[in-house]
Subunit: 410 residues, 2 copies
Amino acid sequence: VQQKREMSEVQAVIESVIGFSVAGVACGLKKDNRLDFALVVSDRPCITAGVFTRNEVKAAPVLVDMDRLQYQAENIRAVAINTGSANACTGRKGVQDAHVTASWVAESIGCHEENVLVMSTGVIGLHLPMDKIRQGVSLASASLGNDWQGTASAIMTTDTRPKYGSVTVRTAAGQEYTIAGIAKGSGMIAPDMATMLSVIVTDAVLSGAAQAKTALKTAIDKTFNCIAVDGDTSTNDTVVMMANGATGVTAGDEFQLALETLCRKLAQDIVRDGEGATKFIALEIAGAPNHEAARQIADTIATSPLVKTAFYGGDANWGRIIAAAGRAGILLDPEKMQLHIAPGETLNGDSLLLFTNGMPTEYDEPTALDIMRQPAISVKLDCGAGEGHALVWTCDLSHDYVSINGHYRT
Amino acid sequence: VQQKREMSEVQAVIESVIGFSVAGVACGLKKDNRLDFALVVSDRPCITAGVFTRNEVKAAPVLVDMDRLQYQAENIRAVAINTGSANACTGRKGVQDAHVTASWVAESIGCHEENVLVMSTGVIGLHLPMDKIRQGVSLASASLGNDWQGTASAIMTTDTRPKYGSVTVRTAAGQEYTIAGIAKGSGMIAPDMATMLSVIVTDAVLSGAAQAKTALKTAIDKTFNCIAVDGDTSTNDTVVMMANGATGVTAGDEFQLALETLCRKLAQDIVRDGEGATKFIALEIAGAPNHEAARQIADTIATSPLVKTAFYGGDANWGRIIAAAGRAGILLDPEKMQLHIAPGETLNGDSLLLFTNGMPTEYDEPTALDIMRQPAISVKLDCGAGEGHALVWTCDLSHDYVSINGHYRT
């Protein structure tokens, strides 16, 4: 365990993942010549899994990728990602445009169109500006290399910083492989996926598409699906994992832990960079009737505007947390609830009990305010109603969130 | 029908309701000597119905009133309402304080303690300052009269204006009675009740508690339960209707329509005065699989931070509305959806089609922006999936909402 833990530490850099090359370029999708188009390419076919938005309104690239992974999941070579337009609500032409984008990438790297995935993020209802996309494909494929940070920057929308990381795993036999990932997402972030794109790559050997899918889904349930910025779920959410096996090292038991560690880092980076966020909040629900109930209570609290504005104001307004739990649709007895807060991203011994036996404790208000003013705050609500447990990460609701989203399109 | 409609017009004044007297006084619960305590008294027992919050965390006055209406529903004489403290999460002492408040009112007007209801609104977790409450009861019972506006003002918290109105109903036989009401609520407003208090009184004769309850519940389902400010539901929501029969005129078929008209006016007043609200939005969902699905879609849109900030920004960002509908948990086909917007509080012929066949129309952007910049906007989403229909009223999410709620307690 000690060794695994050590190996699973996420690095805030991506040195290299054998057989993968990437590029982030500027092709005029964003203003001011910012990076706005990205390409991730493997030199050989990848075993690939994807997890997609549950929104009933799915963007064209989501529909195209879902379809492709039905029959090409062990044969994917590249992912192309554009910003500026979500290519959602764009009808038949939107699907066509996604196909054309993929075909340009395929042509430039030498594979079939069906072996390329596409992702889009940006405004809903705009057709892709295909002349710029063509330019993006051409620039990116000409500059493929190892600039992961630039590539992560090229998929940003309202993000203020690129999100990427890697884990190098040493197997029991002393062999090494890497898992690396880039992600974007800042608003429209809700449990059950979000306006969130992520590409995860590994040079480990996976046994096949089934293993890849199980590994990715399990990891996402504990990480990307446990974050909430505003409770809105987008039309475009996609996480794709590509394994090219270039190291020849088989992914063993340690793979899952390493993958989850990486996904957790990327997911938390999204919350930290939430639109207008000034605070990172780790919210733990214990003692719920069951896991689903715990998640429902956690999600209700994490998306409550009153709770989120109280965190923004640095106000220890525990009543709003208790009230949000009470409206989650789960049978609860306030007399049995206990609410703790603590500074930092994880709750340890030094927490402050705010509420028990249906009433506030006689806690020290300055201590509570001091905790509420930290950049990271842990909250634990024990419902005293069973064994259900959930952990989600969220952020506060600030003036800047309103500014960003009140004027995003105009 | 013509006559009924005429009779059901809501007046923005309350002239008098026979047998009822009211008072709003200042007893130090709010700063700056503002009105903060209210009393509504009938000179004879009332047939009374109440509808209460569904939050699992119920304030002491809610628990006390629910209990009282089990066995005193045809024998209520008064309602006392304090601001400053919600008397929620206040344990056994909170319930005791509610009883003591009722007993002081009972003493001053000459009835049993059990014949008095109590309501509270304000911060959760604070005990009632009983010396001030005593002062409030004493001042209010000494100044009972016809100042309905002052009484409505005395129950305000973050409200910026008092909410009240009345309907005078003429029966087929030419007799008259009045229904009047006061309400408060501005934040923590969600479908299925909200931090919302309302007292409705009538001098009509009702047959009994069962009729009162059915009438009130039916009216609330179409009015108070169709508003959303922030999606948060409070611990204290209460609507009480008291009928004292003082006119001797029996409430006939026309009663329900008049009651609903009054409740709609009060509910819409709450949305218009939503915390930080700059726009009133009437949201109609048609063509959903059924009514519950329509409500779920409506509520998801009405509480979506991205939709609400787009309205605040005056941006015709229809994509956010479609995306919110898509994540409502209802099976929908975006190809069959149609989205219209129009200026004003009701959607009539002059609406602008923004979205159909899975794509935006080639609508005129200046026309759309002009509509989005109106103080009242109607939105209609036809899902093309059935006969389900719902109508809710909501408001935008502004910088002021964040300011108000980021710093409410401190």
